[in-house]
């Protein structure tokens, strides 16, 4: 069995090119920039693996990347931040109990309906009564306790706080939590076919972002949560360390630069570990009979169903797995940033860019997804210098004082969108299989 990562030599060239690009950035720009690009590349690679298992291996169109990434980030906050003790003494407990009883009663009522009520109109009447009752509950209990939470020390906390656990724990928990959410979404939406599923998941992810933005008791909403605890040491502590000071003398680097390099390097190591674990597990899964079944399902759903495969169940399974992976990467992103900013979640950056990574890298191959994640994020960061270069080239005959030229140069940052669109269109036309093709299996 050739499941070994390094024995697959045909892909080594692509990885070498990536490494070479980072070397170039490190030598010509700075190693700090190179490492921060590398960290985000790793996170993007994990996200695009998540989409690849859904789209490349099973043909599910999930445009809800943004929502799952945000839920992952939310998990990071709720696991790692210290709890707001004042609130827990009376306010939130009430909210949580109500939330829980709501879920339970909702499920119970639905079960009861099936047994007792058969008349359509009575069902409608009952649901109206339940809606009105829940509105009353919201008005009388929810809103006062929410106000209480939001007004307690609103400058500093004003939310329920977290569990004060190490933030690394939030990564697997984010995966689990996103899996549960994906189960709920998949249950209701996966019956839809490609186009509608794309629109529905995009809509659901927008709703998730809206809820996180506006429910300030949950994670401060648009006020952001700052200063999340880190899994790696702080730069300031490193700078005091004697060994680091000696090292900086021998390497001829300033202590500040070296310490930030070490922090970023530690993050990279953590991320590479996560990437490798996810990658190996998925490679195993893809090469197993399960993976073969998923590909059969993607290539011809009807004949797969005729062979006795439960299409709905399998789709739900893979939807959950992919979304959990995206959730993990979302939590990692929040960990890296050290803050949770709901307003930064935009579909262009979190959904469509990840999709471009998968398409360019080569859908159906996890190596492709990783390379795509690396290449596109690299390109996304470096597109501005490229854009400036292109504009200089186009306007080469104009003088430097020309208004047109300076106007265009001012807007050069937006060239990245233009170039990204161009890359996607050209890729779909001229190399639709991506940088790394899907492996041909017998």
């Amino acid at each position: 069995m050739k499941t070994d990562f390094f024995s697959e030599k045909k892909y080594i060239n692509a990885y070498l090119v990536c490494a070479f690009l980072f070397l170039l950035v490190g030598l010509f720009q700075s190693w700090n920039v190179a490492f921060s690009i590398l960290n985000l590349c790793l996170i993007s690679a994990i996200m695009s693996i998540g989409i690849n298992i859904q789209w490349g291996n099973s043909g599910i169109v999930n445009f809800g990347v943004m929502g799952f990434a945000a839920i992952g980030g939310l998990c990071g906050v709720l696991i790692s931040m210290p709890p707001t003790l004042e609130v827990w003494k009376d306010g939130t407990a009430v909210i949580l109990i109500i939330l829980f009883s709501f879920l339970v009663s909702g499920i119970l009522i639905k079960k009861f309906w099936k047994i007792f009520v058969h008349n359509k109109y009575i069902k409608i009447l009952l649901s109206i009564i339940i809606i009105l009752f829940s509105l009353y509950l919201i008005k009388s209990i929810f809103i006062p306790s929410i106000n209480f939470i939001e007004n307690t020390n609103s400058v500093k906390t004003g939310y329920i706080g977290g569990l004060n656990l190490p933030i690394i724990l939030s990564w697997p928990i984010a995966g689990l939590f996103c899996g549960v959410i994906a189960f709920l979404i998949g249950k209701i939406a996966l019956g839809l076919r490609s186009d509608y599923l794309a629109i529905a998941t995009l809509g659901i992810s927008e709703i998730i972002i809206y809820i996180i933005k506006n429910e300030e008791w949950l994670a401060r909403g648009v006020k952001n949560v700052n200063g999340l605890p880190r899994p790696v040491p702080y730069e300031i502590d490193l700078q005091k360390n004697e060994f680091i000071q000696i090292l900086s003398n021998t390497l001829n680097l300033s202590v500040i630069e070296l310490s930030s390099l070490i922090v970023k390097g530690l993050y990279s190591i953590l991320f590479i570990l996560v990437l490798l674990i996810i990658f190996f597990l998925l490679q195993k899964a893809i090469k197993s009979p399960w993976g073969r079944m998923m590909r059969a399902l993607r290539d011809n759903e009807i004949s797969a169903e005729a062979m006795g495969i439960n299409v709905k169940k399998r789709h739900l399974q893979v939807f959950i797995i992919g979304s959990a992976i995206i959730g993990i990467s979302g939590a990692m992103l929040t960990t890296l940033d050290g803050q949770f900013t709901p307003s930064s979640y935009q579909p262009l950056r979190y959904t469509f860019l990840i999709w471009i990574m998968v398409i360019i890298g080569g859908s159906g191959n996890n190596h492709g997804a990783i390379i795509g994640g690396f290449a596109i994020w690299f390109f996304w960061i470096q597109a501005e210098p490229i854009g400036i270069f292109l504009i200089e080239l186009i306007t080469i005959f104009l003088s430097d004082q020309n208004e047109m030229k300076s106007y265009l140069l001012n807007h050069a940052a937006y060239m990245r969108l233009l170039l990204m669109g161009l890359v996607l269109i050209l890729a779909l036309r001229f190399f639709p299989k991506g940088i790394i093709e899907e492996e041909k299996r017998l």
Partner: protein
Amino acid sequence: MEIINAFALIINYIIIPGLTYGCQLALGALGVTIIYTVLRFSNFAHGELMSFGAMTSILITWIISYFGISIFPLPTVILALPISILITISYCLLIDKYCFKYHRKKNSKNVISLIVSIGVMFFTSGLIRVLIGPNDRTINDGERFIISARKFKEITGLTEGISLKLSQSITIIVSIIAVVLLFWFLNKTKTGKSMRAYSDNKDLALLSGIKTENVIFYTWLITGTLACIAGTLYGLDKSYKPFTYLQLVLPIFAAAIVGGIGNPVGAIIGGFVISFSELLITFSYNKFLSYLIPINFLPEGSLQLLSTDYKIAISFIILVLVLILRPTGIYKGKLL
């Protein structure tokens, strides 16, 4: 008197804004629906096409005002609109030629065309931001109000005023003209009929001698026109900001799907359903009820179903609900 006041309140805060926003959504949804029926893919780039139309309108308005031409009290954009429609149509045709045509010829899956449209979306939004920048721009250089709230109060003596902006009435009138022309084209002319035949059954239409490229040319012609008009009107009514058009894509899809995708009448109805439900659900009914029932009976607290923060989210919620409960929409459209 009290009842009239209550109605004035509703007209001012729900009916007039709802009609305006509904018209803009309906024009957008018509574009999406027509692309869907003929070319069989969901065009995610439609919001950016609208933005492109609005941008060209602004650029041409600048040129026109440079020569000192104006039609005050009407905004100058009206003069620029025909030219910018032509430019938007040619942009659409270029996109089709270089992006979509290849995949149509190759008979790719419609998801591939959808992903291509995302590429077009990126490209167009980049182009717009490079050309005009990401900042807010007001287009409206004409008279602001036809009738302002204060004037209305003075004339009628009511305590509630109704204000009607010029941009709102232009939006409604232009939309009506565009929709009437569109339906005349689709139902009465030969090309329109051939388009409908093509969308009904592609193979049969090809057999009866309808030329594919002709149909697709007219499809992009209509889409470009509608997108340019809708984008310009939206920019005229609010203000032009490239970022907002990206957020408009989902409400437009919601309108098209609620009405039943592939059905032009449905798209219009869907636009109004979305716009009015956004307003009705986030409207605070306290003042309205205070005119109708005695103050003693008035319940405490605000009578609002959802806070205004969730205004845009409502269209997403409707979209998801419709997709799950009745994917064919109000008028039975085509099921994907």
